[in-house]
């Protein structure tokens, strides 16, 4: 029996370890933070942030290193390809920005910094795993690491009622949706006897498996529930506004970008490799979900008065745009989704950073009207927010525009004409509520919130300026990122 089980080669090679380097680095760093926490938490609260940034930068280097030895690792459970690398870079960048955005917030709220940063790092470990996973087990575990870490982060200020509620909702609904995802995984396993994406595809591509298609479709639908939930695509977006609104602002920024990007990565990977064969089946699902997300997100955001909630609805709408790219189910569509996610991450974090800055202690100033006169009191902050908002609207020379352009290009190429038209009209609707912020910021007289606004701290400044520069670069010279995305759409399995 043992002989029967003996594998040819299971000991991880050096390359395997290198391919796993970012996760290793971050795990070690996270653990280190936990150890250092009791020693330094009181004296040097900034230490943990600095250390996490170092760790994340090291992980970036690790990712780059891993990219040099592309291939599968650990019995084909992981696959380091361009796609994975792109998203690893992305979530790491999101991590860095989140950490930068958190310094002042943690300071104001007098929150423990050690665990906070450790959890962020662990969440990123989970996300890095997800994006590089080639096996539904790995995806599941990565997803859970990321999710559990973010459940905790969402309720990090445990004495804050909003935090509690956000965490509870996120946790309960998240687990609920995960159960659906798992059920889908189970069914896929039942049909194909494997959980490896490439193998699933091979099985499905084999002629003679026709009867299985019904089951596969059902599995795809169930997995869609779980994945759409994670990316807050309609009709599974319901949790998003409540959780973003309730969670600590930097965490909300992180939630809106990091887990979402990673979830989209696996969404793309699963649906475009494993389920590629039945693409014509799930395309209508994505189509409907995309349209619903855009519409619900944009229209519901029109009347929002709470900045975080508005950004939450906006993030639903943006998930809709990315789903449009997915509906195109082509390489261009994938590249478009990747590019868009990058652009979206930058502009969204940027916008959230302004909210963090504005909200102040206890997140008192979260109303749209609190932005009044920001253009007068802090022109630089306002200018940065303007860049992000214009990018969110999709005005040229910003990353948001180019991303949107690229998505709709992919959609049109796949003949999704009506989806494109509706999507574009939606973005005109969306312009309204983003413009409203601009209006308040520049055209209203300063109010209580802006008059007593403290100057930007270095961390926040960096967290504002870096995404702003990034947004502009993605808009003006998208070539580099775009090329990377385009080269990386060939999934490892192919």
């Amino acid at each position: 029996m043992l002989a029967e089980l003996a594998p040819a080669n299971f000991a991880p090679s050096a390359d395997d370890l290198l391919r796993f380097a970012p996760e290793t680095i971050l795990t070690v760093a996270g653990t280190l933070l936990m150890i250092l926490d009791p020693l330094f938490a009181k004296k040097t609260p900034k230490l943990f942030g600095n250390l996490s940034i170092l760790a994340l930068l090291a992980a970036v280097a690790g990712t780059a290193g891993a990219y040099t030895v592309q291939g599968s690792a650990f019995s084909n459970l992981l696959v380091v390809d361009g796609f994975a690398t792109f998203f690893r870079f992305l979530v790491l960048a999101i991590g860095i920005l989140t950490v930068l955005a958190s310094y002042r917030y943690l300071d104001l709220e007098k929150a423990e910094t050690g665990e906070y940063h450790a959890l962020i790092l662990f969440a990123i470990v989970g996300q890095c795993l997800m994006v590089a996973a080639n096996d539904l087990i790995m995806i599941f575990i990565g997803l859970e690491i990321s999710s559990i870490a973010t459940y905790i982060l969402a309720g990090y200020l445990r004495d804050d009622k909003r935090n509690n509620e956000a965490a509870l909702k996120y946790f309960l609904l998240g687990s609920f949706a995960t159960a659906f995802l798992l059920y889908g995984v189970a069914l896929i396993y039942g049909v194909t006897a494997t959980t490896k994406l490439d193998e699933i595809r091979t099985v499905l591509n084999t002629p003679g498996n026709v009867p299985a298609f019904t089951m596969v479709s059902i599995a795809a639908a169930l997995m869609f529930v779980g994945l759409a939930f994670k990316v807050s695509g309609a009709p599974f977006q319901v949790w998003t506004p409540d959780v973003y609104q309730g969670a600590p602002a930097p965490v909300a920024a992180f939630l809106a970008t990091g887990p979402k990007a990673a979830a989209f990565a696996i969404f793309l990977r699963i649906f475009l490799t494993a389920f590629q064969q039945i693409a014509s089946e799930w395309e209508p699902l994505i189509w409907i979900s995309a349209l619903l997300s855009m519409t619900i997100g944009n229209f519901a955001a029109l009347t929002q008065d709470n900045l975080k909630r508005m950004l939450a609805y906006s993030s639903v709408a943006h998930a809709g745009y990315v789903l449009v790219a997915l509906a195109a189910r082509s390489e261009i569509g994938t590249a478009a989704a990747m590019f868009y996610l990058a652009a979206y991450a930058l502009m969204n974090i940027g916008a959230f950073v302004v909210v963090i800055h504005l909200a102040g202690k206890g997140e008192r100033h979260l109303r749209v009207s609190d932005l009044a006169g920001l253009g007068r009191r802090q022109p630089i902050t306002a200018a940065m927010l303007t860049i992000f908002l214009l990018s969110l609207i999709g005005v040229p020379l910003t990353g948001g525009f180019f991303g949107k352009f690229y998505i709709f290009r992919a959609a049109l190429e796949s003949n999704l004409i009506w989806l494109t038209v509706l999507g574009l009209l939606n973005s005109a609707v969306a312009a309204y509520y983003y413009l409203r912020l601009l209006v308040v910021m520049y055209m209203h007289e300063p109010g209580d919130a802006t008059n007593n606004l403290e100057p930007l701290t270095p961390g926040l400044r960096a967290a504002l300026i870096l995404p702003a520069i990034g947004t502009i670069i993605l808009g003006v010279l998208p070539g580099f990122v775009l090329n990377f995305a385009q080269r990386s759409t060939i999934f490892g399995a192919r």
Binding site: T214, S217, A221, A228, F236, V238, P284, F299
Partner: protein
């Protein structure tokens, strides 16, 4: 090279100097610039006249530059002079010079002295352009330009609401005419591909009558506007709000005759469009009668002359309409003499009476202003068609041609002539005889004003005799087969003298009579006195509905109501959709979970159904 451009350019230079620097220049410099520029222009006209040779055979044409060129269409800034132009040039520059001189005295105490002369010079520029233009577009430039100057000068007293309103009215009514004129131009280009007079006229005979009739009628609309014919005459009486020299120059002698000139210029087109000709004649005749009746009952001396102008212009149109183009031009010329004189004389009278214009407050001026009295008498004789005065010749030529065309036109014309004599002399008697009923002490005008009066008086009396226009123009317009019947002449003269006598009886001998007649025919008198209520009718049927309709229906109704209503409605609706969507977000975890389940069910149904179909499809 005759350097025709100098003719309009000189007044234009005057305009520039006075317009740009007039405020800082001393009065005599302004006078000098204004008058000299026009006189020089007159001199240049005479020089051209002397040296150009036989204009009938070889018109002088000069091309300066291409104005508009688009595809094959091209319009140049071209001037040309033929006999018709020459006559017009002489009238315009000649009378223009006189009136400039007259204005020195008349306007001496007005504010904005420089402005007045600048405008006057500008008017000369445009009028000369109009006359000199070798194609319809250059003519149109002048046409619009004189309209502008007319607008400016009518509204010269900018603080007077009535004056500026009259200016607007003049411009806008003229615009309605220009609407027709411009459509005519478009039709000409569409059909002829060019606007050059020579090319158009040489090609015109070959064009279908319908086309030519359309063009001619549209030209007529333009002419009606500029020359104050029915139904567009309404602006001219109001135009008397302007200073009197303006009334004389623009609204009597020159500008208003532009329509006649234009029709005459387009004679080739008109003669090939009999219906249009008939229309011209009828409009002319109707205007002549209509305006004359109104003139009978006016008390404002300038208004009397204004309606008289309208009426006389009707005569000219009658002449053109019956084919007697040269007679029309002849009357244009003599009318320029005597009507300019009448207005200048009226100006002198008004000057004498310290600005009073109501004849009921004048009287007995004979002894205070003898020169004015004499010269005005000359003009009145001329307009009444007293034998051997200028009016006698030209009116006779028109009437006899009208008789040749249709005898009833002659009879209507003759009756009108009688009325003309009556109201002009009525004005004369009311002004100069009897007792002075005004305020202050009336006085004679200065010599700068009287000298032009005298010159014009001479021309009014002898102008018809000296300048036999039909003879001059007979190479261009063969004299219509006039009916050589001296009886017709006697009849018209008799009507004229009869009108004079009747007015003498009513206003000198039996001064109670007018009032009793007025009360006897109360409604008729009221109708005529109020100019048939035409202004009021226009106001009620056109102006008011347009403005109120625009305000209520278009602006508030359409723009703000419907269109913005839809636009804003989309906004509000979007927001309320958002409001509904928000309600789905109840905050309750269990209902959220329900949405997830519902979504899952929906997906399962969709996927299951389509997968079954897919499997079936593959299975087949």
């Amino acid at each position: 090279m005759q350097n025709l451009w100098l003719i309009p350019a000189l007044p234009f230079l005057g305009f520039l100097i006075n317009g740009l620097f007039g405020r800082k220049l001393p009065k005599f410099v302004i006078n000098l610039v204004a008058v000299a520029s026009v006189l020089l222009s007159f001199a240049w006209v005479m020089k051209v006249f002397m040296t150009a040779g036989d204009l009938g055979a070889t018109p002088v044409t000069e091309h300066y530059f291409t104005w508009i060129k688009s595809g094959q269409f091209q319009v140049g800034w071209d001037f040309s002079v033929d006999k018709l132009t020459m006559i017009m040039l002489m009238i315009v520059t000649g009378i223009g010079s006189l009136i400039h001189i007259y204005s020195i005295g008349y306007m001496a105490h007005e504010e904005g002295y420089y402005r007045f002369f600048a405008y006057l010079n500008l008017f000369m520029f445009f009028m000369l352009n109009l006359v000199l233009g070798a194609n319809y577009l250059i003519l149109f430039v002048g046409w619009e330009g004189v309209g502008l100057c007319s607008y400016l000068l009518i509204g010269f007293y900018t603080f007077k609401q009535s004056a500026t309103t009259a200016g607007n009215k003049a411009f806008i009514v003229n615009r309605i005419g220009d609407f027709g004129f411009s459509l005519a131009i478009f039709l000409i280009v569409v059909n002829f591909g060019t606007l050059d007079f020579t090319q158009v006229f040489s090609a015109a005979p070959g064009k279908p009558t319908g086309t030519l009739t359309a063009i001619a009628l549209l030209l007529l609309v333009g002419a009606c506007g500029k020359s104050a014919q029915i139904p567009l005459y309404v602006w001219l009486p109001d135009a008397m709000e302007g200073p009197t020299p303006v009334s004389a120059l623009i609204h009597a002698a020159t500008m208003v005759t532009a329509g006649v000139y234009m029709c005459t210029r387009s004679a080739v087109i008109f003669t090939h469009a009999p219906i249009a000709m008939e229309t011209v004649a009828i409009i002319g005749l109707a205007t002549a009668v209509f305006a004359a009746t109104i003139g009978l009952a006016q008390n404002d001396i300038k208004k009397v002359f204004a309606y008289s102008t309208v009426s006389q212009l009707g005569y000219m149109f009658l002449g053109v309409g019956v084919g007697a183009f040269s007679a029309g031009i002849w009357h244009l010329m003599t009318h320029a003499f005597f009507k300019a004189l009448l207005f200048l004389g009226a100006g002198s009278v008004i000057h004498a009476c310290h600005g009073e214009q109501d004849m009921r407050h004048m009287g007995g001026l004979k002894k205070y202003a003898p020169w004015t009295c004499i010269t005005l008498a000359c003009a009145s004789l001329a307009i009444s068609g007293f034998p051997f005065t200028s009016g006698y010749f030209s009116k006779d030529a028109i009437l006899s041609a009208a008789y040749g065309h249709a005898p009833w036109m002659y009879w209507v014309g003759v009756v009108t002539a009688g009325m003309t004599a009556f109201y002009v002399w009525r004005a004369f008697w009311m002004t100069f005889l009897g007792e002075y009923k005004g305020h202050g002490h009336p006085h004679e005008s200065p010599w700068s004003m009287l000298a032009p009066l005298v010159v014009l008086a001479v021309l009014s009396i002898g102008g018809g005799f000296f300048f036999n226009v039909p003879h001059m123009l007979d190479s261009m317009f063969p004299v219509a087969e006039g009916v050589e019947n001296m009886n017709l002449t006697y009849i018209s003269v008799a009507f004229g003298i009869g009108g004079i006598a009747l007015s003498y009886y009513m206003y000198v001998v039996n001064t109670q009579l007018p009032e009793s007649i007025a009360s006897a025919f109360g409604w008729l008198y009221k109708l005529i006195y109020n100019k048939y209520f035409i202004d009021e009718i226009y106001d009620a049927t056109v102006v008011h509905p347009t403005i109120e309709g625009s305000r209520v229906l278009l602006w508030h109704g359409m723009d703000q109501g419907v269109i913005d209503g839809i636009v804003n409605g989309v906004g509000t609706q979007s927001k309320s959709i958002g409001g509904v969507l928000k309600l789905l977000q109840s905050g309750n975890i269990r209902s959220y979970a329900t949405w997830v389940v519902l979504g899952a069910v929906a997906l399962l149904v969709i996927m299951g159904v389509s997968a079954l179909g897919f499997a079936a499809g593959v299975g087949r």
